[in-house]
Symmetry: C2
Subunit: 146 residues, 2 copies
């Protein structure tokens, strides 16, 4: 027995992700205004490389919840912009290890600040408790479906 029943279309905006679209758009706008010329999708890849440099493309797929072709193209574009480099792994020549360039390292602090600013804009007027619950729910949704 499902533990929730919804009225017709009640959770439409939940499903269609208007909130996350709005956040992504605002973050993109904030990047642009700061003169930072990367897409939010590219940023999400850099984000994981800042945490751990030299990940393989497959690891980036898992981390960013994207499929392999998407990561191929994102890395293509990041490489064009000289933000990352593909390096063939010596252990397993099927793998590309992705390394940040100095240019990309310089972007970390500034973009993380912009991300924080964006979230503060988004969550203005929401209590920490509610944010926490919301985050928890979204995590469960992700785990249920991934």
């Amino acid at each position: 027995m499902p533990n929730n029943q919804f009225k017709r279309g009640e959770l439409y905006s939940f499903m269609t992700g208007k909130a996350s679209t709005a956040i992504a758009r605002r973050l993109q706008k904030n990047f642009k205004q700061a003169g930072i010329d990367i897409t939010v999708e590219q940023w999400s890849v850099l984000y994981h490389l800042w945490k751990q440099d030299g990940m393989s493309q497959q690891e980036l797929c898992n981390a960013t919840f994207r499929d392999k072709p998407s990561i191929t193209r994102l890395v293509d574009n990041l490489e064009k912009q000289k933000l990352v480099k593909r390096v063939a792994s010596k252990d397993d020549r099927r793998m590309n290890l992705i390394y940040l360039t100095d240019d990309a390292l310089k972007l970390e602090i500034q973009t993380m600040e912009l991300a924080n600013t964006t979230l503060n804009e988004a969550l203005e007027g929401v209590s920490s408790e509610k944010i926490s619950i919301c985050k928890e729910v979204l995590q469960i949704v992700y785990d249920n479906l991934k």
Copy 2:
């Protein structure tokens, strides 16, 4: 003073919309399995037309939180699939009013059931109270940024 400060990247998945991506993907998969050949984006347009047929493209932009070119192309594709028709407004010839075809009317019940199923899959194990709070937070985020 912002009322929330986040640890570095703490809300990454909040920002990048993994949960809504996962829901959209699952809904798409459920459509496909049921033999329904529309994209979730197309469904989101049909959704609003089921509530109110004959909306203009601009109204669909506002309703679906998309820009005008996106709606132009979605309506193009829906028209190709014979699910909607563009009808020039008599009052204002700049406007196209978008009307559902019989084929599209037939899809409503089945796809709304699939949407419900998908949401139940997504929200399995989450209490109604938490869902309610999460929905409220997402609405505020949307209102803050739109």
